[in-house]
C-alpha cells in the first residue's frame, strides 16, 4: 500500500490524528520553555503558547466521548482470569475513565460553557486518576514480564519439542510489553509533574510527551498499514 494511502488511512482514525496533534502540542510546551530560556521576544512565546492551548482544547473536544470506551473495557476486564492482570486492567481503565471525564469538565470551563468553582480540585483529581492508571499499567507490565520469563524457561526446557510459532509469539509479546512499559514510564512524568510530586520543568514534560506521542503514532501507523 502506497505511503500516501496509508497516511490518509492513518489520519482517518481519530487516534492517529489525535496523537499527531498531541505531538505538536507537547512540542509547543517544550518549545515555549526553550524560547523563554533563550530570552525570545514576548510575541513569539505567546504565539507558541497559544498554539499549545488551542491544540489542547481541540484534542479535548475530540476525546469527548472516549470515556465510554474505557467503561466498556473496564467491564470486559472484569472477566480476565489472571488476578493480577484483572486488578491492574480494571484499575487502569477506571482511572482513564475518570481522567477523561474530568478533562471534559475542564474543557467546558476553559471555553466558559460551564463554570465550576472547584475546578482546581477536579483537575487535580483527573491528574491523580491518570497517575494511578499509568501506575497500574506499569505494575501490569512488570507482572507480564514475569509471566513471559516463565514461559521462556518452559520453552527452553522443552528443547526440541518446542513449537517455533510459540517462540515467535513469545518474542512478539516481550517486545510489545517492553514498548508499553517504556511508553507508560515516559508518560507518568506528565501527571507526576502536574501533581507536583516531582517538579519536572516544562522542557522535560514536553519531551516526555513528544516521545510517547511518537510511540503511539508508530503503534497506530502499524495497525493501519497491517
Amino acid at each position: 500500500m502506497s505511503s500516501v494511502a496509508t497516511f490518509n488511512k492513518f489520519l482517518h482514525t481519530t487516534t492517529g490524528r489525535e496523537k499527531m496533534c498531541r505531538l505538536v502540542q507537547y512540542f509547543s510546551r517544550f518549545y515555549v520553555f526553550y524560547l523563554t530560556r533563550q530570552g525570545a521576544p514576548k510575541d513569539v512565546i505567546t504565539k507558541w503558547a497559544g498554539l499549545k492551548g488551542h491544540l489542547g482544547n481541540a484534542r479535548k473536544f475530540f476525546r469527548l466521548a472516549k470515556n465510554v470506551e474505557f467503561a466498556t473495557n473496564a467491564i470486559k476486564g472484569l472477566s480476565i482470569q489472571d488476578p493480577v492482570l484483572r486488578a491492574t486492567t480494571v484499575l487502569k481503565q477506571v482511572g482513564m475513565f475518570l481522567y477523561y471525564t474530568t478533562e471534559a469538565i475542564n474543557l467546558m470551563n476553559i471555553i466558559s460553557f460551564r463554570h465550576d468553582s472547584n475546578l482546581k480540585d477536579i483537575t487535580r483529581l483527573g491528574q491523580k486518576c491518570w497517575f494511578i492508571a499509568l501506575s497500574a499499567s506499569l505494575v501490569s507490565g512488570v507482572h507480564k514480564f514475569n509471566v513471559l520469563k516463565e514461559k521462556r524457561q518452559r520453552l527452553v526446557a522443552a528443547g526440541e519439542k518446542a513449537d517455533p510459532a510459540d517462540a515467535k509469539k513469545l518474542t512478539k509479546d516481550f517486545v510489545s510489553a517492553r514498548y508499553q512499559f517504556i511508553q507508560d514510564a515516559c508518560d507518568i512524568v506528565i501527571p507526576t509533574s502536574g501533581l507536583g510530586i516531582i517538579s519536572f520543568d516544562e522542557g522535560v514534560v514536553g519531551i516526555a510527551g513528544m516521545i510517547t506521542s511518537a510511540m503511539a503514532i508508530r503503534t497506530q501507523w502499524n495497525k493501519v498499514s497491517a
Binding site: 500516501v4 481541540a58 466521548a65 472516549k66 466498556t72 466558559s112
Partner: protein, 236 residues
Amino acid sequence: MVTHQQVEALNRFLHTTYGRERTCRLIQYFSRFYVFYITRQGASIKEIQRWTDLKNHISNARKFFRLLKPVEFAQTAIKTLGTQDEVLRATGFLKQLGMFLYYTAEVFVLSNSIGFYRPANIQKITDFGQKAWLLGLAASMLSGLYKFQLLGIRSHVLAKERLAQGEKSDQDLQSRELALQREKFKNSYQLVQDALDCVIPSSALGWLPADEGFVGLVGVVTSLMCMNTQWKSVNP
C-alpha cells in the same frame, strides 16, 4: 438499558475522524442557530456569549482535525483523472480540486484565528476558500444530475428486461434492480445534501441573504445526513 452492541457501534463510529468531526460540526451549527434564536428571544449577554464561544472553539478544534485533509483530496483528484466518462472525470476532478483549495484556505483561517500566523490578506483568503467550496459543491451537484441521466438509461434497460422475462422470477435481475434502486437513493441523498450545503458558503460570501438561524439549521441537517452515512458505513 443500553446494549453492549450499541455501545460498540458508537465507539466504532467515534473511532473514525470523519464520524467525530461531523458530530462536532453538528454541535457547531446548532450553536450557530441557537445563538440566533436566543438573541431573538432576548436572552442575557452572558448566555449568548457562552454559546458563541462554544461555536468558535469547536470550529477551531474541527479545523485542527482537518489540517492534512488537502493531501487526501489531491490524491483523489489524481485518481479521478483516470475515469472513463468525460463528464464524470471533469466534475469529479473539479469537486476534489475545489475541496483541496477550500481546506488549504481553512489552514490559514485557523492560523489567523489562533494568532499563530496572521496573513495580511486573510479576508481574501477566506473568501477564496468559500468560493472554492461552492465550486466543489456545484461540481458535485452537476455530477449528481448527470448520474441521474445514466441511472435513468439503466433503469430503462432493466425495465425492458423485466418485460421480456414476464412471469418468471430471476434472481440476477432482481439483485440488479435492487442495486439500481440503492444507487438512485444514494444519488438523490448526495444531491440534497450538496444543495443544502450550498447555503453556507453562499451566505458567507453575501450572495444569499440567509440569517444565522437558517444557516445553522442547514448545517445541522447536513451534519446529520453525513453522520447517518458514516454510521451506516462503519456499522453495516
